[in-house]
Every structure is written in C-alpha cells, then in structure tokens.
C-alpha cells in the first residue's frame, strides 16, 4: 500500500453564524480539524457549543459561513451527492409505515440498487446489528435500543466511508447505552468506516473514540484534541482500568479548565463579544 493517506474529513478555518431573531449568533469560530481514515472521533462539549452544528457541516446539512469542509478530497456537497455519508440522529427517525427491513432498504432504494442486491445488503446489515428476526416487524413494535440499531443498519446500508452520529444514545438508559457502545465499537471495527460521534457523555466518548475533540461554548471552538490510547477491543473490563479513569479525568478537566479560564477572562471575553456584535450587527 503506497497510497498517500488523505484525510477523510478536512475542515479549515470554518465559522458558522446563525441569524436569530434579528441578531446574529456565532455558533462556530475558527474550526480546524482533520480526521483520518478508520478513526472514531467524538465531539464533546457543553450544550450550545456547536458540536451538532459541526457534525451537520461535515454532512453538508448546513453550509459554513466561512472556511471549507472537504470530505475525501472533495467539497462536502459533492460527498453528499456521492453518498459518502451515513447518518444517525438522537431519535431513530424510522418511517413508521415501513417494516424494519424496508427502513434499512430505504437508502438503497433512493440510490436505485437492484432488488436482489438490496435484499442481500439489508440482510447483511440486519445481521450486523443482530435484528434479523425482526426484519418484518414495524418500528413501533421495537424497543428504543432496537429502533436505534435499525437506524444504524440503515445508515450503513450504502457502505458510507463516513458515519455521522448525533448523540445517538442520548435518549437511552445507562445500561442500554453501555450495551450499544460495545455494539457500535464492534460495528465500527467490522465495517472499517470512519465515525464522527457527537455526545454529552464523557465516559461514552472515552470508551469509543480514537480521539476526543473537546469544544468550548459560544462561539464553539476546539479547545483540545485528546488521543485515547486504550487498547482494543474495549470491554466492560476496560471501564474499570486506571487508564480509562485517567482519560475521563483528562477530558473532564479540559472541559472544566476551559470554563475556569473563561470565568477569569469574562471581562475581556464580553468586551470582545460586544465589539464583535457591534461589528457584524
């Protein structure tokens, strides 16, 4: 293999400003981020830090105000049209008039995959998320965790090179969440897709990721990227190792430290913000 490795996601100088109620909100500012192939990157930060916005920028579901988002060497929009993405939201967003298998088949139908290939692919995906026995069920007949697994199977149906997950387990109870984390790790390792994962949960981010991107709130900036060097596969035992706790502490302190720093600089920060708002408004 002599191919020069090209980052899957390359974000340069991105900022995002929302117009809201006559004023403008700077949601993201000066974001530079590069994500390599086969990485599992978590975006973590307090509410309103723009982590979901960043995910949506990567998926071309919203456009940056300035800067560029490059996916597999092409603009995000082209990557979307090339179907490079799979996406999983916090809610499963299943179509309730479709059975489980028809939900998983949806992206393949949109793409125009032949029926026979579609069937094979759906079967493989349902096997991957261990829901083969529920292929003919309707979403409302499934538990929340199972529904989310269907939405993961759907996101992976087109073999996307990048899987975007926006707080996918935020609505699940802690036990289910840990089980789903193990499942996502297994799926990530067996499919070889790059994952960008938005979460509120520090343990979840540490357990799953190769890198944790810690963000600060309004305007969202990247504070630090922390490498997670826990060995794979990570299991329930991993959750009890010293290194796991050290990393959790490191992420937590980075989040908190930023807050302390902000508190110390409040005067300066608000002066800056006033100037910025005066400038754009």
């Amino acid at each position: 293999m002599t191919t020069v490795s090209q980052p899957v996601v390359s974000i340069a100088g991105v900022s995002k400003i929302f117009d809201a109620g006559g004023g403008q909100t700077r949601a993201l500012d000066g974001i530079d981020l590069s994500i390599e192939r086969d990485e599992f990157v978590s975006l973590i930060g307090p509410s309103g830090c723009g982590k979901s916005t960043l995910l949506r920028l990567i998926g071309d579901l919203t456009a940056p105000t300035s800067g560029s988002v490059t996916i597999n060497g092409k603009p995000a929009r082209q990557a979307r049209l090339d179907r490079d993405y799979g996406i999983v939201f916090q809610a499963p967003v299943l179509f309730d008039w479709r059975t489980v298998q028809a939900n998983v088949a949806l992206p393949l139908e949109v793409k125009g995959t032949a029926a026979a290939d579609r069937e094979r692919r759906v079967e493989a995906m349902l096997e991957l998320v261990e829901l083969k026995d529920f292929a003919r069920h309707y979403p409302y007949q499934l538990s929340g965790g199972m529904q989310q697994r269907v939405s993961i199977a759907r996101a992976l149906a087109l073999e996307p090179s990048i899987l975007l997950m926006d707080e996918p387990f935020g609505a699940l109870d802690e036990m289910t969440r840990e089980r789903m984390n193990a499942e996502v790790q297994r799926i990530w390792q067996s499919t070889g897709t790059t994952v960008v994962f938005v979460t509120h949960s520090i343990p979840e981010a540490v357990f799953l990721s190769t890198k944790v991107v810690v963000m600060s709130p309004r305007p969202g900036r990247i504070v630090r990227v922390i490498d997670i060097d826990l060995p794979r596969p990570r299991t329930d035992d991993t959750r009890e190792t010293t290194r796991y706790f050290e990393l959790i502490t490191e992420v937590r302190e980075t989040l908190r430290g930023r807050r302390g720093e902000r508190a110390a600089r409040t005067g300066v920060a608000s002066a800056e913000r006033t100037a910025a708002e005066g400038g754009v408004g």
């Binding site: 996406i87 967003v93 309707y138």
Partner: protein, 304 residues
C-alpha cells in the same frame, strides 16, 4: 404475543372495525326510530289504526308538539310504505326504485367531482409544499373560494358549463378540493425535519423525498380529508342538480320535487333524505376501506 398479533394484522386488511361500526350504527338506527316514534307517541298527531273489519282505533298523545306532527315527522312505517308505493300515480316504478336510480345517478356525479376535487387538492398541496411563494399567492383564494355560498355559485356554473353532468361535477369538486388541499398540505409538511435531512444525506431528490417520505407520511391526513370530501361531494352534486339550471335526474331533482309535494306527502322527502344519507354513508365506507388498506401495519390504523 403482542408482536405476533400486530404482524398478523399487518399482513391483511382487517375489516372488523368496519363491521363493528356498521353493527353499532344499525343498533343506533333502531334506537333513533324508537326515539322518533316515542316523540310522536308523546306529542304527535293522533295515531289511527284500522283493523281488517274497517274498525278504527285512535290513540291521542298527551301533548301537542309541532315538531312531532305528521307533517314534520311522518310515521316511520309511512315512509317505509311510501318507498314501496309507486313514485307517482299511474306509474309502475316504486319510490324505492326511483330513489335507487336517482342515488346512482347522483353518486356517479359525486364520484367524478370527488375525483376531480381530490386530484386538484393533491396537486395544489404538492405545489404549495414546494413553493412558499405559490402558497402565499394562492392560499388566500383557496380559502376565499369556500366563503362564497355554493348556492350562489351553482347557477353561475350551470350557466357557464351547461346544465349537464359537467356543471354538476364542477360544483361537487368545488366542495371537495378544499379539505383535501388543507389537510394534504399539513400532511406533506408533517415529516420530522430530520427525516428530510436523512433523505438528503443519501442524495435523494425533491421528487424522491416527495414520493418516499412526504406522500406516505401524509396519508393519515389525506384520508381524514377524503372522508370529509366524500360526503361534501354528495352535497355538492345534490346542490348542483337542484339549482334552477340543474338536472332532470338525481337526488337533487328528487328533493326539489318532493319538497314541492311536501304538504301532501312529507314521507317522500324523508325517503329522499334517507337515500342521500345512505349514499353518503356508502361513500364514506369506501374511503374507510381504502384507508384501512393504505394504512395497514401502521400503529393505530384500526381506529378512527
């Protein structure tokens, strides 16, 4: 298992809710007749019975209520008798036969109006959901159109399109397209924004999003509107037939004729109203069966 039962229900259309509805409706109809005759027994005109020997028995109710008089509420058996009797003197055809023919005639026009109005409503909603500008421009007219009394409009339409079937179909569709437009627009915009983002993330076109997401999501709303439209189309057809330039046939004409003869035979008008009600019920049931078929497998498809 709950899951198994749901799967079984999902596999075929269950007409059980319709059967149950008809049974309850039938029982209620019997109750209605009892209330009807009960009111006449309390406050109607004197009841007269004559036996085979020609001996007459008279029962005089204790009160006198205008609303329960024989002219307002004819006895149920008088209506039934009128249905079996010839529609006019020296005619072979029974009133029932005449009304069945009239109902079929009106039903055909109403069905055409329902179809035209339904398609127009679907098209308008599909246009509005894709163009905010079109919605802003046309919606006020769509709403305003429904504030014009159909009675004022029907003669105008008959004048413009002749008093054949076409004019009547237009009147029926005029009453039909409105509920369909409003409900369908609501239905087409009902999907979760994330569902639309999901479709966009796999590069679905507007066309694909419309057919694979918006349209199936709209069906519960559409069928709610179609039930309103089904009965409105019959009202439209009857009004269309009954207006001065209207039709020589159909329930509208029958109702006008029997209205004129009300003094001498109120039961004929009641029989015509019964025919119109049954026709409406039939339309409604057809829509309901289509709904059960279209929404099978969805949660709550068996209700409503």
């Amino acid at each position: 298992m709950a899951g198994d039962r749901a799967t079984r229900q999902a596999a075929g259309i269950s007409l059980r809710p319709i059967g149950r509805g008809l049974l309850i409706g039938g029982l209620f109809f019997v109750a209605l007749i009892l209330v009807w005759e009960g009111a006449k027994a309390l406050g109607g005109d004197p009841w007269r019975f004559s036996d085979a020997a020609g001996h007459e028995t008279v029962y005089t109710p204790p009160f006198t209520w205008a609303i329960a008089s024989d002219l307002s509420l004819p006895h149920v058996w008088k209506i039934a008798g009128a249905l079996a009797a010839p529609v006019q003197r020296q005619q072979e055809q029974s009133l029932a036969g005449y009304l069945v023919g009239a109902a079929l005639y009106t039903g055909r026009e109403a069905a055409l109006g329902f179809l035209v109005g339904g398609i127009l409503g679907l098209a308008l909603a599909a246009g509005f959901v894709h163009s905010k500008l079109a919605e802003r421009a046309f919606m006020p007219y769509v709403v305003a159109s429904q504030t014009i009394p159909i009675l004022a409009l029907a003669p105008l339409i008959a004048f413009a399109f002749g008093n054949g079937v076409l004019g009547i179909v237009i009147v029926a569709s005029y009453l039909t397209f409105f509920p369909v437009t409003i409900a369908q627009l609501r239905g087409l915009t009902s999907p979760d924004p994330r569902a639309i983002e999901l479709m966009r993330s796999c590069a679905a076109s507007r066309w694909t999003i419309f057919w694979k997401l918006r349209m199936p999501a709209s069906l519960p709303y559409l069928f709610a509107a179609l039930k309103v439209a089904a009965t409105a189309s019959i009202v439209g057809a009857i009004v269309g037939e009954g207006n001065p330039g209207g039709s020589q046939f159909g329930l509208g004409r029958a109702i006008l004729n029997f209205n004129e003869q009300y003094g001498s035979g109120p039961e004929k008008l009641w029989a015509a109203m019964l025919a119109a009600a049954l026709l409406g019920l039939g339309f409604f049931l057809i829509v309901r069966i289509l709904e059960l078929a279209a929404l099978r497998g969805r949660p709550g498809a068996g209700t409503g």
